[in-house]
């Protein structure tokens, strides 16, 4: 649209036609206060705080509902305006209790800020305030009615943003009240968006309730460790007896790919970290019992055993199972450890998508992978399989927002009537398991129609329509494997600007695949059998493909696998393996809890989770992000450190495993006190340029250097990564990969309220009643 010229407080502003006045002011750094206005939600015009003077208009106008017009002359601050706003604050405070010292929003309350700005703190009313008892709407949502200022933000975000409509308005006018649509409680996705968006303390969080205050916490921006979407979450942490306790999660600073969106898992389900069953000291099996031991004892035993087995039976007698939740650096280090230190290609992980086939299909194609941001901006989205509302809440949010705000066209092809069909321009129900046939049909194989059902004309019309969609983003679930993906990519190459997104279930499933946790693939999907840069760099790694996860169990059953090293995975429960097959093997497990796999181990090492370490993770769409250490539980160690210590205990020169000790020596100056900011900025600069000190073998940044140097697609901007931005990796330079058995892919089957082992130990996820309503009662075990 054409630009419009307006004048705001004497400043000339050029802004696209159709822009709201409040946004136009914001674009030149003039803040117009508002309660009810929230970007990307529908307009309300309820709070009357954004009143501004527009020349030639008789009364003050609400900037949030006024659209800019050519030649408009606007004043945002004058005595008249201040008087009007002060009056509004005074009215709002008429019945608002002054219990700020107790209120959880105190210190980050917009009404507090406004009262400070406009000075309407004294009340002219002499009538007593109309008190109502606080209500609990769900385990995680509390409502204090007198504090509510009726901005309707919560109602709008629940209806428009989440498409849940659990909140509504009762009565009209001055007697309006916000209330759940389901009598006295919420029946919803328990995302907590209403709490975050509430400008005052009317809606407060059940898990953060009265625990601390905003300025008492340290706020650490990191990445959620539950599903594969990679939402940025800011964790509030506080010193506790056992280290640093995570008190709350939110993303109010709107950084990251998720803006301010978080689902129940990201917002509340960090509580597994403080679960009472958390392991805090190493356990060694003595006389058949797992007994507490020291770290030295544990590493010495593991080192001795692994060395002895490697010497006697060779590396192929040791199996390694990696995790979907550990960082890229840890995954990379783990497979390097297996291949270089143990001399074994027996490394695998719990696969939830066929990334090797995906990488092979997109090899050599630049700009072919869609990021989470692309899903929000694309003019059209095709979704095949999966149920993002349940399994990929951010993806569902991006799609919903895209349809709502950009009028994008969504096409859904699914075997279930998933909720996203409500946003779809076209929805096709297909028989279960026919997703592959649909991909084949798209690629031009009309014979596949037989298994799709429905009329041929309808399907052909859909295909023709899709072919005309420019910049189509094609999102597909793990139902598509191997040849299906190739067929889909073949179809996509005929659509101009088409991009692809494969959905995997865990926080770092994509990273685990990219980092080569495969028995036959090195990082970047390079086959182990082919001589390449990794063979040159590492020297003498075995080139015969190793054993996959089920094959390791078979091998152990046959007595050939003498040792198993499991890092943050639970293969016994996930693959239903008989635990007795490992009774003769030496099993080492690194985990947070005594899982089904940990109980059969000979040594259990208490591990830190992703909220308690640094590194990077890659979400399902390939967006690389930095995770930062937020919490801490005394007595645990990060997986990175444990892998290095085991290598050390085996007598291996860890310098060959982790390239530490490099970098320029620099005077870091004072790290505390008045000058600390300067030293910090200096450190950021050094780190961004790869010059930071890597003096410790436990420094994941040293491995990130190697990943960036060796893994194709990971050579992204370090500065952008360290600034907390997401950086997209790609498959353009990936290896040719090797065809994988499709049956090795086992989807996690976690819904919105389940998250494998992490979910099992989360009180909050168990406390919401939707968890019990919607899911099978048996807990899904996973890694």
């Amino acid at each position: 649209m054409a630009d419009v010229n307006i004048t705001v407080d004497g400043k000339a502003v050029k802004t696209p036609a159709g822009t709201l006045l409040i946004e136009a002011c914001k674009s030149v750094g003039i803040e117009v206060p508002s309660f009810c206005y929230y970007p990307n939600l529908s307009l309300q015009g309820a709070c009357r705080m954004c009143l501004v003077k527009v020349e030639k208009m008789p009364k003050l106008q609400t900037a949030c509902t006024t659209v800019v017009a050519e030649g408009m002359i606007v004043t945002t601050d004058s005595d008249e305006i201040r008087q009007a706003r002060k009056g509004m604050v005074e009215l709002l405070l008429g019945n608002h209790p002054l219990d700020c010292p107790v209120c959880d929003a105190g210190g980050e309350c917009e009404l507090q800020d406004m009262t400070f700005s406009y000075g309407a703190a004294e009340s002219k009313y002499i009538e007593p305030k109309n008190h109502r008892e606080e209500q609990q709407w769900s385990p995680v949502v509390f409502f204090d009615r007198p504090r509510c200022i009726l901005c309707y933000r919560c109602v709008r975000v629940c209806n428009e943003g989440m498409d849940v409509a659990a909140l509504g308005v009762q009565n009209r006018g001055v007697s309006s009240i916000i209330a759940p649509n389901n009598e006295d409680h919420l029946e919803c996705e328990e995302c907590g968006m209403c709490i975050d968006i509430c400008p005052v303390g009317a809606l407060t969080s059940g898990s953060y309730r009265y625990k601390t205050r905003p300025w008492e916490m340290n706020h650490v921006g990191t990445v959620c460790t539950h599903c594969g979407d990679g939402c940025k979450t800011t964790l509030g942490v506080r010193r506790a007896d056992t280290g640093m306790e995570i008190v709350r999660g939110d993303n109010r600073d709107k950084s990251g790919i998720n803006n301010d969106f978080l689902c129940i898992k990201g917002r509340y389900a960090f509580d597994f970290a403080n679960h009472q069953d958390r392991l805090t000291q190493p356990l060694i099996r003595k006389n058949g019992q797992l007994t507490p031991a020291t770290w030295e004892e544990a590493f010495e035993l593991i080192g001795k055993k692994f060395s002895a087995i490697r010497e006697k039976d060779g590396g192929q007698a040791i199996g390694v199972i990696g995790s979907n939740h550990t960082t890229n650096e840890e995954n990379y280090l783990l497979q390097k450890f297996a291949r270089v230190v143990l001399g074994s290609n027996n490394i695998d992980h719990h696969r939830t998508a066929d990334f090797p086939a995906f990488a092979a299909a997109l090899r050599g194609r630049a700009n072919a992978t869609a990021s989470m941001r692309d899903v929000y901006n694309a003019p059209a989205v095709l979704l095949i399989g999966n149920d993002p509302t349940e399994k990929h809440p951010l993806l569902a949010w991006q799609i919903r927002s895209n349809v709502r705000l950009h009028r994008s066209r969504l096409y859904v092809v699914n075997s279930q009537p998933i909720k996203l069909r409500r946003q779809a321009a076209g929805f096709q129900l297909i028989p279960a398991g026919a997703e592959g046939a649909f991909a084949a049909f798209l690629a031009g194989e009309d014979a596949a129609l037989a298994s799709l059902g429905g009329s041929k004309d309808g399907w052909t019309a859909l295909r023709d329509k899709l072919k005309t969609e420019e910049n189509l983003v094609i999102v597909f679930g793990s139902e598509l494997r191997e040849g299906d993906i190739t067929a889909l990519v073949k179809f996509g190459s005929a659509v101009p600007g088409a991009k692809f997104l494969a959905l995997a279930d865990y926080a770092n499933s994509r990273g685990a695949a990219d980092m080569g946790l495969y028995p036959d693939l090195l990082p970047g999907y390079l086959p182990v059998a082919e001589a390449g840069k990794f063979h040159q760099e590492w020297g003498g790694i075995p080139s015969a493909p190793g054993l996959s996860l089920p094959e390791m169990a078979e091998s152990a059953k046959a007595g050939k696998l003498k040792a198993l090293y499991v890092v943050g995975a639970n293969p016994i429960a996930r693959f239903g393996i008989d635990p007795f097959v490992f009774s003769k093997s030496f099993v080492v497990v690194q985990d947070m809890f005594l899982t089904e796999t940990a109980v059969i181990a000979d040594v259990v090492l208490p591990a830190a989770n992703a909220y308690e370490k640094s590194g990077s993770v890659t979400n399902t769409s390939g967006d690389l992000q930095l995770v930062k250490k937020a919490g801490e539980v005394t007595g645990t160690k990060g997986d990175f450190e444990m892998i290095v210590r085991i290598a050390d205990a085996m007598g291996f020169d860890v310098r060959q495993l982790v390239p530490f000790g490099r970098g320029t020596r620099a005077d870091m100056g004072q790290t505390r006190g008045a000058q600390s900011g300067e030293a910090d900025r200096h450190a950021v600069w050094l780190e961004a340029n790869g010059l930071e000190l890597k003096m410790s073998p436990f420094d994941p940044m040293a491995i990130l250097d190697e990943i960036q140097r060796l893994v194709p697609g990971y050579n992204i901007s370090r500065l952008a990564l360290l600034s907390g931005n997401d950086q997209q990796t790609n498959f353009a330079a990936s290896g040719p990969a090797v065809a994988q058995k499709p049956e090795l892919i086992v989807p996690a089957a976690d819904g919105l309220f389940r998250s494998g082992t992490l979910g099992r130990y989360s009180h909050t996820l168990h406390s919401v009643m939707e968890n019990k309503d919607r899911q099978p009662s048996e807990e899904v075990a996973a890694d």
Binding site: D99, C100, P101, V102, G106, E134, R209, Y210, K211, T212, R213, W215, E216
Partner: protein, 176 residues
């Protein structure tokens, strides 16, 4: 004449000496005086060890808003908050301080915490005998700083002393 001048000077000097002999003593009888302060006297405004006040119902005034900790320039106040329940009511509002520690190793007795307190819960008392042979004794817990239960609720200073020495939190009074 000179001698007369000298005698006059001596007489003048001694008159002050003898005059003072009959005036009441100005020296405080610390530490042999009566009362909890052993004879030491203070101005009202003296800022000594903190006292956490109770309201007229014997409930703690502190609602654990953390404003004192935020105002504290030496970062010596540590609080853990908890929610009052029907059965276990400690303060008048929804929240109370489960843990309230002041580290007198760090405290500079500036009084900012008292100024910041929205409920007048924390005040400076006149306690000044804080010296200790062990620095860890200088971290005062809530129980050491709490004011005694009000007298009309059956408590007295001796009773409170036993509470302090016993190290157990005082039971909240039910009702008025």
């Amino acid at each position: 004449m000179a001698i007369l001048k000298d005698i006059a000077a001596i007489a003048k000097g001694m008159s002050i000496t003898f005059g003072e002999m009959f005036k009441p003593t100005q020296v405080e009888n610390y530490p042999d005086g009566p009362g909890p302060f052993k004879g030491a006297k203070f101005q009202e405004r003296f800022r000594g060890a903190h006292v956490l006040q109770r309201d007229e119902n014997g409930l703690e005034k502190c609602v654990a808003c953390f404003l004192c900790a935020a105002a504290c320039p030496s970062n010596c106040i540590y609080i853990e908050a908890a929610e009052n329940t029907e059965e276990h009511r400690v303060s008048g509002a929804e929240r109370y301080a489960k843990v309230y520690d002041i580290d007198y190793n760090r405290c500079i007795f500036c009084g900012y915490c008292v100024e910041a307190c929205p409920t007048d819960a924390i005040t400076h008392g006149h306690g000044f005998e804080l010296a200790s042979f062990n620095a860890s004794n200088l971290v005062y817990r809530k129980e050491q700083m709490l004011a005694p239960q009000p007298a009309h609720l059956g408590a007295n200073s001796i009773f409170n002393q036993a509470e302090v020495e016993g190290g157990t939190p005082s039971l909240p009074a039910q009702g008025a």
